[in-house]
């Protein structure tokens, strides 16, 4: 592979900082004493519990189902009994209803048996994906089965697998691609069958040569049928892992403003989501665990951990040898788009891709100053928006006037805030503008 693809406009290249964990194999974390299952793990209304307090549940049993509208069911990540159904801390929603599961650590782990899926119809496969509670685990948390049912008026011809992992520090997808490449390719075939198409392209940034090699080998080994899966190398640039940017980088197609990728005939899924689809369909295993990168200079033993959904961050810290005194900020997700949290008493959800323990040297706490109109944010914005104007309007208390600068097109990648020499919290301005503009 000679050419490296990328999207044409904007983008930044923050220090990758992946060295802490990129060579560490995925470790399985032992079961904690308690798991906290937040009922709103995905975009849409929270689930309704289907179990009562004190009920005994087995690994993989359904514990909460879709209440209304968009959503996916939730399963018990381990055997145990339901300790409580109450509210718990949530990184964004402050508190949210959740189920506390007292884990039975003596129970035998359930064996997930391989199953033939080739005979199943696309509809049956889709139902399996839904029943396994799979959401986009790259971070967005959008129910996967919905993305696999593109609207009838926009036929899809290409499936893109997102292995860009452009956020600094995170190596969860990277390690999954290196260690579980065959499963991802198998998952891609399932997705292709559900969509009824043949073409699949895996996009990986060229700072992960071992992942590219592993995926290419797996694709070659899995050949023999009529599907056309290929691996392409992408230039290292943030935010390449964003849906619209990835589509443009790989296919050259530009998704119109406020439209879905299916408008240009493309569906994008994260490689880890693809692997979850494989486990759901071929092994009958619901989404109950995921690989989370534990990194940053503030943690004693950085790791790529396979943890059960609902594991508390404090349990992870204990397993990883504790945190050093220099920790200044704990971030759920990547440093660019993740959320800083103020307590370790929060559980891992289906969308948590990393927990970062950052020291003072790794973060910037310079207070904001006035906009100097340098225009760097305009150059950095991959969507071609004007972040500076949005910030100025919000500061002037006119958030309702920011729509003209495309505030609703912004997906909050943070490139503008990253380059801003005046240290303006531009993403926060955008979030405020969105919130207030919707309200008025």
């Amino acid at each position: 592979m000679v050419s490296t693809l990328t999207f044409p406009k904007g983008g930044v290249h923050p220090p990758e900082s992946k060295g802490l964990t990129e060579q560490l194999p995925i470790q399985v974390m032992p079961l904690p004493a308690e798991l906290h299952l937040i009922l709103g793990q995905h975009i849409g209304a929270p689930c309704t519990p289907t179990v009562a307090k004190k009920a005994a549940v087995g690994e993989g049993d359904l514990v909460a189902d879709v209440s209304k509208g968009l959503g996916v069911p939730l399963h018990a990540p381990a055997a145990g009994s339901i300790k409580a159904i109450a509210t718990a801390a949530h990184p964004i929603r402050v508190t949210t209803p959740s189920i506390t599961l007292a884990v039975d650590r003596e129970a035998q782990p359930r064996q997930w048996t391989a199953d033939q899926w080739q005979q199943l119809t696309a509809q049956e496969l889709l139902q399996k994906v839904h029943d396994a509670g799979i959401v986009g685990i790259g971070g967005a948390g959008f129910p996967t089965h919905v993305k696999l049912k593109p609207p009838a008026d926009t036929p899809v011809d290409t499936l893109l697998l997102n292995g860009a992992e452009c956020e600094p520090y995170i190596t969860a997808d990277h390690r999954s691609m290196v260690e579980k490449a065959e499963e991802i390719v198998e998952g891609a075939k399932i997705l292709l069958k559900i969509l009824g198409i043949k073409t699949c392209v895996v996009g990986i940034e060229n700072n992960k040569p071992d992942a590219i090699a592993a995926m290419t080998a797996a694709v070659r080994a899995a050949g023999g049928d009529d599907s056309d899966i290929s691996v392409v190398t992408l230039q290292v640039k943030y935010p390449q892992g964003s849906e619209k940017q990835l589509i443009q980088a790989i296919t050259g197609r530009k998704v119109p403003a406020m439209a879905l990728p299916s408008a240009v005939g493309v569906v994008v899924h994260n490689v880890s989501t693809t692997r979850a689809v494989y486990e759901a369909v071929a092994l009958g295993k619901p989404l109950i665990e995921k690989v989370v990168t534990i990194s940053g200079r503030g943690i004693v033993k950085p790791a790529n951990l396979l943890v059960k959904i609902g594991t508390k961050v404090s349990d992870i810290v204990e397993y990883c040898g504790g945190i050093s005194d220099e920790v200044a900020k704990v971030v759920l997700g990547g440093p660019m788009m993740g959320f800083a949290v103020s307590t370790l008493d929060i559980p891992v959800t289906k969308t948590t891709s990393a927990v970062l323990f950052l020291t003072k040297e790794e973060i910037d706490t310079t207070p904001l100053s006035s906009c100097i109109r340098c225009g760097w944010c305009l150059d950095a914005c991959p969507m071609g928006l004007e972040p500076k104007e949005i910030g100025l309007y919000v500061e002037a208390n006119r958030p309702e006037n920011t729509e003209q600068f495309g505030v609703f097109e912004c997906f909050e990648c943070g490139s503008c805030a990253y380059v801003c020499p005046a240290k303006r919290p531009l993403v926060q301005f955008v979030r405020l503008a969105k919130m207030k503009a919707k309200r008025s």
Binding site: S342, T343, T365, V394, L432, K436
Partner: protein, 291 residues
């Protein structure tokens, strides 16, 4: 003088005069023909209003209210909060509507963060506005219902009635007209309009219970419902994990209960309502603030 010049001057004057006359007549005709029917009553009502354009009445500015109160028979004459009784009487007299009593009210902050020594769970360094701060984990205060203290209400108040003292809003009873702008602005929804005749109140908006409150605040309401039980007038209720006081029932019952709700409250958060004793500050407490 050169007769040529005189001729030119006269010619110019006549020409301009003609043009002036033409447009003058045109304007006079237009003024007659396209005259806008205006209700002189609206003008009069508008003149009697304070013209603060605060929007407290619920209409777009004073003119919006003047038009509505004159044209819509269902709009009462006592909606102007800044004007209070005087303006209401005037508007009622002008519109011939029945004057109903204007209740003297003011905005109160239902939070005792300062006194309860609520600490910060994280250090906030973003844009200095309460709404912005509350985007992440509900704000930096350890109590998720507490006042954030970055003064968005003070900035929004059209009457300058809110002053931030030690990062906590202090509302001046003399300046507050109960327009309700701060109530809408506060992202924590802890500002309320309350009657000045109220006998008691609860300066806490926490919906948490027991230990969750005591672990973050020294005075917060723990939801023990003691006040609900002891009130002889049944004026205190507990809905959605929040104390509600029916001030009408409380005032109607009178002082014979000796404010038993206040003396029985184990957290000392049920209080005698006194506009001069709204915020109890402890000068020994050094407040750590972000922003």
């Amino acid at each position: 003088m050169d007769p040529q010049l005189v001729k030119m001057a006269i010619g110019g004057l006549v020409l301009l005069g003609c043009i002036g006359l033409f447009f003058g007549i045109g304007l006079a005709i237009a003024a007659q023909k396209f005259a806008v029917e205006s209700n002189p009553l609206i003008e009069e009502v508008l003149e009697s209003l304070p013209l603060a354009n605060c929007g407290g009445c619920g209409y777009p500015g004073c003119e919006g209210y003047a038009i509505e109160v004159v044209t819509n028979p269902d709009v009462p004459p006592n909606l102007c909060f800044p004007g209070k009784e005087k303006v209401a009487e005037k508007v009622a007299a002008l519109t011939g509507k029945k004057m109903t009593a204007v209740e003297d009210t003011m905005a109160v902050v239902r939070c005792s963060r300062i006194e309860g020594r609520v600490s910060h769970k994280h250090h906030y360094i973003g844009f200095s506005s309460c709404t912005a701060a509350s985007l992440g984990f509900g704000g930096p205060s350890a109590c998720q219902y507490a006042c954030i203290g970055l003064g968005e209400c003070a900035e929004a108040c059209p009457f300058g009635a809110i002053e931030m003292v030690d990062n906590f809003p202090e509302i001046s009873p003399d300046k507050c007209v109960s327009c309700g702008v701060c109530v809408k602005t506060c992202p924590k929804n802890i500002i309320e309009i309350q009657t000045l005749k109220a006998r008691v109140w609860v300066p806490c908006s926490s919906k948490d219970l027991g230990k969750a409150v005591t672990s973050v605040c020294q005075v917060g309401c723990i939801g023990c419902k003691m006040c609900v039980k002891v009130c002889p007038a049944q004026a205190v209720t507990y809905e959605n994990n929040l104390i509600h006081i029916d001030h009408k029932a409380c005032i109607a019952y009178g002082p014979s209960c000796e404010e038993i709700c206040v003396s029985k409250c184990p957290r000392d958060i049920f209080r005698i309502y006194d506009t001069h004793d709204m915020v109890r500050r402890d000068p020994s407490v050094g407040l750590k603030m972000a922003g």
